[in-house]
Amino acid sequence: MKTTLLAVFHVLVSGPVAQAQFPPACSQFGPRCLYASPVAVAEVTALSTSINYRDAGGETRTLDVHIRLPAVTGGSLPVVIWSPDSAMTQAARETLVSWSEATARAGYLTVTISHPLRSLAQQVRLCQALDLEPRLCAVFDSANWDWPKDQRELISWLERANQSGPDALRGRIDLRRIAMAGYAAGGDGAVSLAGARRLLTTTDRRNADDFTDPRVVAVVSLSPQGPLNEGFFDADVFKPLTSWMSMERPVLLATGAGDNNCVPAAACLKGDTPMRRRVAFELMPAGGKYLMFVNSVRMSHDFLGTLDTNACEQAGIEPSLCANFREWLHSAVLAFLDAHLRNLAPAQAWIRGGLIREASGSLAGWETK
């Protein structure tokens, strides 16, 4: 960690590392050793819709959904679903825009969801419907329950849309190649669909809440949550189970030394610290697991979701570094998706080789297991 400032200095002074410094493995990835998807779609059409379903209490829950459809002729398309943090309350079309556009331009049918927050009265009714004890309801954050439920409902809607939906979608959705990607609470939901268990409605680890959905083949979690908060748990005395031990499908986690949203910083009852976020990766079983850790405090928690280089620059960060952060994150996520949804050999080589380290002048760490 103490190399952070030195590494930033290195990048700022030297700029992108000259190709001559890269190992041979970088030779197929252009002068900066960044992964670029071979599918590059110039035209993307969009449509918005809403999805209704009945929650556990029988109340109607309405999801705002924005779909970006890359102009690729013929056949069904692999799918990436983007799910935001609970603090992101914009319409779906304005949510995780940079991420959504990037995956759409890479040829993925990209679905961005906006989750409605519950009023206090709705939250109480959900507690009642889930038969929560008052002590659990008092600390129950309904977003933790709703987000993975919403994500599953969205996949079910995609199944229906592929059968009998709008012309633009019918038969175009490859239901065997769906990735769930999310930021913060959205990422928490995504890993839940990939098998992470959570203590939301119970304190019994053996019966922890299970949102597993076999229809998701790969997961991206930006700013992942570590143990203790939002229902995620580590082992404890005579309790060997952890939230993540059943996660068998491929997962990419991305975070960094600046990804701290604990308030207050030294008594973290909500949010997480950068190093604690890494624990999620440590506790996952080996096989298709990747952790990208940007070893710079100049990339914020917000940036991982918005990729907003303007806000980054306004926070006093050098424009070139803001742009680099965005490129590195785009590159890593697209390589992961292309490797696991399209089985593209170059993408697999890039992520297995951890070439983001080379591309970033070692400012971005990469762990694989």
């Binding site: 960690m1 143990p227 580590d234 604990c262 910083a265 973290c268 610290t273």
Partner: protein, 354 residues
């Protein structure tokens, strides 16, 4: 302890070793040549706190009998957020470790960190600028521990000048060890920065230069116990300024409202040089077993043989660490620099150093 070492090797080993696996260290454990009988006394230490109020804590002092010359010192800081209160409270504070280090020849001081009464708490809250709601979030024994330890060090200096221990205390060879909240106090004395009510208190305010080495059992993770991680535009962490030797011990069962894995993080954040971490990958070994419950095997909750193996392992590394940095014993340093303790564990123990 010899019986324990044999049990440890039998328990951890999957098969009898064909040859000595850890040359020079029977059963892969560190052992020093001599033990001492121990005399025990109790006294109060009084000092003025940051608000100017008088504060008194009780300490139990265990003195190795028959050891000539200057005595190296270990101060053991117990855990718990409620403090230890009442006459005699210090006697049981980390008593297993305290008895062992005294028997190994270390003058051992075991304080009871007394809880504050409401008026005393209010005074501290005013000092840190905390309003009523924020005041409730400040754990007073956590605040007091580094100051209490400093007061103990001052008292040792005074008693080395006059009284029954005059001329017997080696003020240049002092270690501080602690468990849980006591480990946070210990690391604060070592140089860790704490954050109370949004304000940071760094080594210039809380550290003490006199101890040479530190032991942190069940250390706290960032975001807990007023310790913090890096954050946007802030590369500092609580542990950046800990340059002196530190031994940490925790494990997969060491939860107690924290993540065991996250308790490993302070080791990562400390600067390299004389830093060690033992990880016991066994969820039968809970938080208390790294502290006050070690001597009783968590009141029998842990199977006797396993408990004894854990005792032997923890005692081995604690003793080696103290002997290496306070007694300058080359054999102890050799042990710390080896992976012998890991060999003993056969996969149950992870030994890291940097």
């Amino acid at each position: 302890m010899k019986a324990l070492t044999i049990i440890a090797i039998l328990l951890f080993s999957k098969q009898a070793p064909a040859q000595q696996p850890c040359p020079g260290f029977p059963n892969c454990l560190y052992s020093a040549p001599q033990t001492y009988s121990v005399a025990k006394t109790r006294q109060n230490i009084t000092y003025n706190d940051v608000t100017g109020r008088s504060r008194t804590i009780e300490v139990t002092i265990r003195i190795p009998s028959g050891r000539s010359g200057l005595l190296p010192v270990v101060i053991w800081a117990h855990g718990g957020g409620d403090g230890r209160n009442g006459v005699g409270a210090s006697d049981g504070a980390l008593s297993f470790y305290s008895s062992i280090t005294a028997a190994y020849g270390y003058l051992t001081v075991s304080p009871a960190f007394r809880a504050r009464n409401p008026a005393e708490e209010q005074a501290i809250c005013q000092y840190v600028g905390a309003e009523a709601e924020d005041c409730e979030r400040i754990n007073m024994p956590s605040w007091d521990r580094p100051y209490d330890i400093r007061a103990i060090l001052n008292t040792l200096e005074e008693e080395n000048r006059s009284g029954p221990l005059a001329g017997r205390i080696d003020m240049s060879r002092i270690a501080v060890g602690g468990h849980s909240a006591g480990s946070s106090g210990t690391l604060t004395v070592a140089g860790a920065t704490r954050e109370y009510n949004g304000k940071r208190y760094d080594a210039s305010q809380l550290s003490d230069p006199r101890p040479k080495a530190f032991i942190a059992l069940s250390p706290s993770a960032p975001g807990m116990s007023y310790m913090f991680d890096t954050s946007f535009n802030d590369p500092t962490t609580s542990w950046d300024n800990i340059g002196r030797p530190v031994l940490m011990a925790t494990g997969s069962g060491d939860g107690h409202e924290q993540s065991p894995r996250a308790r490993r993080i302070p080791f990562v954040h400390m600067p390299p040089g004389d830093k060690y971490r033992l990880w016991i990958n066994d969820t039968d070994i809970g938080h208390g077993m790294y502290g006050d419950d070690l001597g009783t095997c968590a009141d029998g909750a842990v199977a006797a043989r396993k408990c004894e193996a854990v005792q032997a392992s923890l005692v081995s590394v604690v003793r080696a660490f103290l002997d290496a940095y306070l007694e300058q014993r080359p054999q102890a340093k050799t042990y710390l620099e080896s992976d012998f303790i890991q060999q003993l564990g056969q996969g149950s123990l992870e030994w890291m150093r940097k």
